[in-house]
């Protein structure tokens, strides 16, 4: 087994790619005279920053990509990008994911078709330990392209999941293997980075929690329960109509790929900016130009905590429980496009981490903004028994299709109250 990393010059491609990948690369190399291949590196004594970082690089734009090659076909391929240790060099914790299309029920009476990791909205929660080596085998069961970006994880750049920046998109029927080390500890998440507006409206996101025995938050506030609340909003009509339009287009694209007649212009892929300009000069028109563009408005009308809107948030889907004298940790993750200002009644909680990273000092709050792409960890101490609203104080987002109450409302319930004078019931139309 040869030892290679990304400093391998073009044209000297060798390595331990999987068979299907190698077969593809042979045809690709015939067209381009060379391509990157999967490489290996010894794990012992190296940290992840050693992989894939070799400035200054010697490559031209688009090196390693198949997307600008005439007649490329990634269907049925298993892709293992370079840069990570081989399976026999470190001990990987292995996970399987899939890109699927599923019908998801936001609350009784409201379902919508959506992309979904493993058919779940949001995707399954990863809980790993800091410095674990992670191997995620993801298979694309849809007709659309996807990637996975590991948001907030310091990983090997070839595993960062940004299409046309760090990897080619994962094609239909393709299997892609991400390998990286889980670090630093904290509340992270993962999401598809392809076609972001639709794919975020389509719930392609999930929590990625990296624990550590040295977590200072656990040491300072020894919490006994750890909740993950994923905040997302949905324009289910946008999702439905654009999913249909997208799939209709992708059927043609995939057929052309199968026929090996797909050209970069079909999808708007260019190796260099100059190539893009040249195509425009020749009359090719990108879809955003005024003769082609559709005016797409995204107007979410359903707002979900862990994929459910109130009152479906009550119960197993986000209903928070606490006892007197207990610390609980809540990890708030905004995987959507709107700001959410989560307000807890009857308590002052502690903001202890932002973007997954512990704060030098906690901040005492009762309302906390969680903006898109951010994670915020809070600690609640059980000192005021009762049933307490925990909701988005941007009250437009506590509605279901315009009807209050709904959306991002859940509840903090004390389990040790004994007899109480008033117990919450369900209201769906005030």
């Amino acid at each position: 087994m040869s030892e290679k990393n990304l400093s391998t010059p073009p044209g000297e491609a060798t390595g331990n790619t999987v068979i299907s990948r190698r077969r593809f690369l042979r045809s690709a190399a015939a067209l381009t005279g060379g391509a990157l291949v999967a490489g290996t590196a010894r794990a012992a004594g190296m940290d992840a920053t050693a992989y894939g970082v070799s400035p200054p690089h010697e490559y031209g734009s688009g090196e390693g990509s198949m997307m600008y090659m005439e007649g490329h076909n990634m269907m049925g391929v298993t892709t293992e990008p370079p840069g990570a240790p081989a399976d026999d060099e470190v001990e990987y914790r292995e996970f399987e994911l899939s890109f699927d299309i599923a019908e998801h029920e936001l609350l009784p009476g409201v379902s919508f078709p959506s992309f979904a990791f493993n058919g779940l909205v949001p995707g399954p929660v990863f809980r790993v330990q800091e410095n674990d080596w992670i191997k995620v085998i993801v298979r694309n069961n849809t007709e659309e392209m996807h990637t996975i970006h590991w948001h907030g994880v310091d990983l090997i750049y070839t595993m960062d999941g940004v299409p046309m920046v760090t990897q080619d998109p994962v094609h239909p029927d393709e299997t892609f293997i991400y390998r990286f080390q889980a670090r630093p500890h904290g509340t992270r998440f993962y999401h598809c980075h392809w076609g972001l507006p639709l794919h975020m409206m389509s719930a392609l996101a999930g929590a990625f929690i990296i624990d550590s025995p040295n977590d200072p938050i656990r040491k300072q506030w020894p919490y006994t329960r750890d909740y993950v609340l994923v905040l997302q909003e949905y324009d289910i009509h946008f999702t439905r109509t654009h999913l249909n339009a997208l799939l209709a287009g992708m059927k043609r694209v995939n057929k052309m790929m199968e026929n090996r007649t797909l050209t970069p212009l079909t999808h708007g892929f260019f190796r260099r900016y100059e190539d893009f300009l040249a195509a425009m000069e020749k009359g090719w028109r990108p879809p955003y130009t005024r003769g082609n563009a559709e005016f797409t408005a995204i107007n979410p009308t359903f707002f979900a905590i862990n994929g459910k809107c109130y009152p479906a948030t009550i119960g197993e889907h986000g209903h928070l429980k606490i006892r007197r004298g207990e610390y609980i940790r809540i990890r708030l993750i905004n995987m959507g496009i709107e700001d959410h200002h989560m307000h807890l009644h009857g308590h002052q909680f502690l903001k202890v981490a932002e973007d997954g990273n512990p704060l030098p000092a906690p901040i005492r709050l009762n309302t906390i903004p969680v903006t898109p792409g951010k994670t915020v960890d809070i600690i609640i101490y059980g000192n005021n028994p009762g049933f307490w609203d925990f909701h988005d104080h941007k009250e437009l987002f506590t509605r279901n299709n315009g009807i209050y109450p709904g959306g991002m409302i859940t509840m903090l319930e004390y389990e040790d109250m004994g007899a109480v004078p008033y117990v919450p019931s369900i209201s769906v139309n005030q």
Binding site: I101, H237, N244, K255, M256, N259, T261, T266
Partner: protein, 417 residues
């Protein structure tokens, strides 16, 4: 008589739906609104070689077939069922019996669900199964539609549209059975409209259909067979020695059609359409009038070959050639054929340059009745078409999510989509 009774019951059912007007309307429950339309304007030139040996030519500016359609739909309380309505306006031919009118070609309401759809009102009749690639609806009318045996008007609208109570049942998302009671327009012997509401026929259609958005590789995309029945009243045509009586009668036509994708290249896409109509007809003495030709026993075959040019999957132009052949079986030398090449070049989304040439030849027997041996027509123009949806909230029965992912992404088959 039994047929008339059946029609009466159907009419009562249709009328009962109007009682909903007595209930209050919630203005907050906004329907999905589809606005579609097409303005088509062509400069036409026509040259005819007459049966008497002479010739005639004519030219005109033609705005016929320009239309505007408003569709409305919303889900019902059941969530899985939907209601819909449509209103459409269409400009008739300048030289037809409707020359100064704006024809209301679509006024219908309906409901539907996962397996069914019921439509009541005026709409496109089920007297053809395939839409052929010509510029206007009437370019191949005699070769593609079961004609109206109750109309002696030249108006194509009376052939293509009519009242109906139509129900469809989907055995699978791609296989449906559609039955309709029809109320074709009835005219007097001069072609003046007498009724568009009398039930006078019915049809039954079994079809397998996969939308082009899903199937563009080689193979069958549509296959259907339909039986079209018309109950015909008597009529006296002409005067004096030329007077001819048409008796009360009925006629049944069988339509079979197929659409076959010839290529599996989405950028260079070839499609073959074919349709045959066998009409058992009614007793007629001549082929001189519209209504006689509609009632005559006939066999019709239409074929069309279409090519779509879509570099980078962006539609740029379509070329098509349609062929039609028709034989009036009870008459000697009463065959006609036509060849219609059409070219549509896309200038922008929905804005097309149009060009079409049509040649038609009538055999001597038919030429004597029509007064025309051969005919050449050229049309060149521009069309502007659009289809816009407001408050997008209702699905589409033919959507990929419905057909392939079983997500009940349902909506009306028509209704402006």
């Amino acid at each position: 008589m039994a047929f008339r009774h059946t029609l009466l019951v159907a009419a009562v059912v249709a009328m009962l739906s109007a009682s909903a007007h007595a209930l209050e309307l919630d203005p907050m429950v906004i329907p999905e609104i589809n606005i579609g339309g097409r303005a088509i304007v062509t400069a036409n030139y026509q040259d005819q070689e007459l049966a008497d040996g002479g010739s005639e030519s004519d030219s005109e500016l033609d705005i016929a077939d320009s239309s505007l359609l408003f569709g409305f739909s919303k889900y019902l309380f059941s969530d899985q069922d939907y209601g819909f309505a449509a209103f459409g306006l269409k400009l008739p031919e300048d030289d037809s019996d409707l020359e100064d009118d704006i024809y209301v070609h679509e006024v219908h309401v309906g409901i539907g669900g996962p397996r069914y759809e019921l439509k009541l009102g005026r709409s496109r009749l089920t007297n053809t199964l395939v839409q052929f690639p010509t510029l206007r609806d009437d370019d191949l009318l005699e070769f593609t539609h079961v004609l109206n045996g109750s109309s002696n008007a030249e108006a194509e609208e009376f052939q293509i549209f009519g009242g109906l109570v139509q129900g469809s049942w989907w055995f699978t998302p791609a296989v449906r059975l559609t039955g309709a009671l029809t109320a074709r327009t009835e005219t007097d012997d001069h072609g003046d409209r007498e009724s568009s509401s009398n039930f006078n026929g019915g049809s039954l259609t079994l079809a397998y259909e996969i939308p082009e958005t899903i199937k563009f590789d080689r193979g069958v995309r549509f296959a259907g067979i339909s039986v079209d029945y018309q109950d015909l009243d008597d009529m006296v045509l002409g005067h004096g020695e030329a007077a001819r009586s048409l008796s009360s009668d009925d006629m049944t036509a069988i339509i079979a059609a197929l659409t076959y994708n010839l290529s599996n290249d989405p950028e260079r896409f070839w499609v073959l359409d074919g349709q045959a109509i066998y009409n058992d007809g009614a007793e007629v003495a001549s082929l001189h009038s519209e209504i006689e030709r509609a009632r005559a026993e006939s066999t019709t075959v239409a074929l069309a070959l279409r090519y779509f040019h879509r570099p980078y999957l962006q539609t740029r132009w379509q070329a098509a050639v349609a062929l039609g052949w028709k034989d009036y079986r009870d008459f000697d030398d009463a065959t006609a054929y036509t060849v219609v090449p059409t070219f549509v070049y896309r200038l922008g989304a929905g804005v097309d340059l149009l060009a079409q040439y049509q040649y038609r030849h009538n055999d001597t027997g038919l030429a004597a009745a029509l007064g025309v041996d051969d005919e050449h027509r050229i049309a060149v123009g521009i069309s502007f078409a659009f289809d816009y949806t407001l408050n997008e909230s209702v699905g589409e029965r033919g959507s990929i999510l419905n057909l392939e992912h079983d997500t009940l992404d349902l909506g009306p088959v028509g209704g402006g989509h």
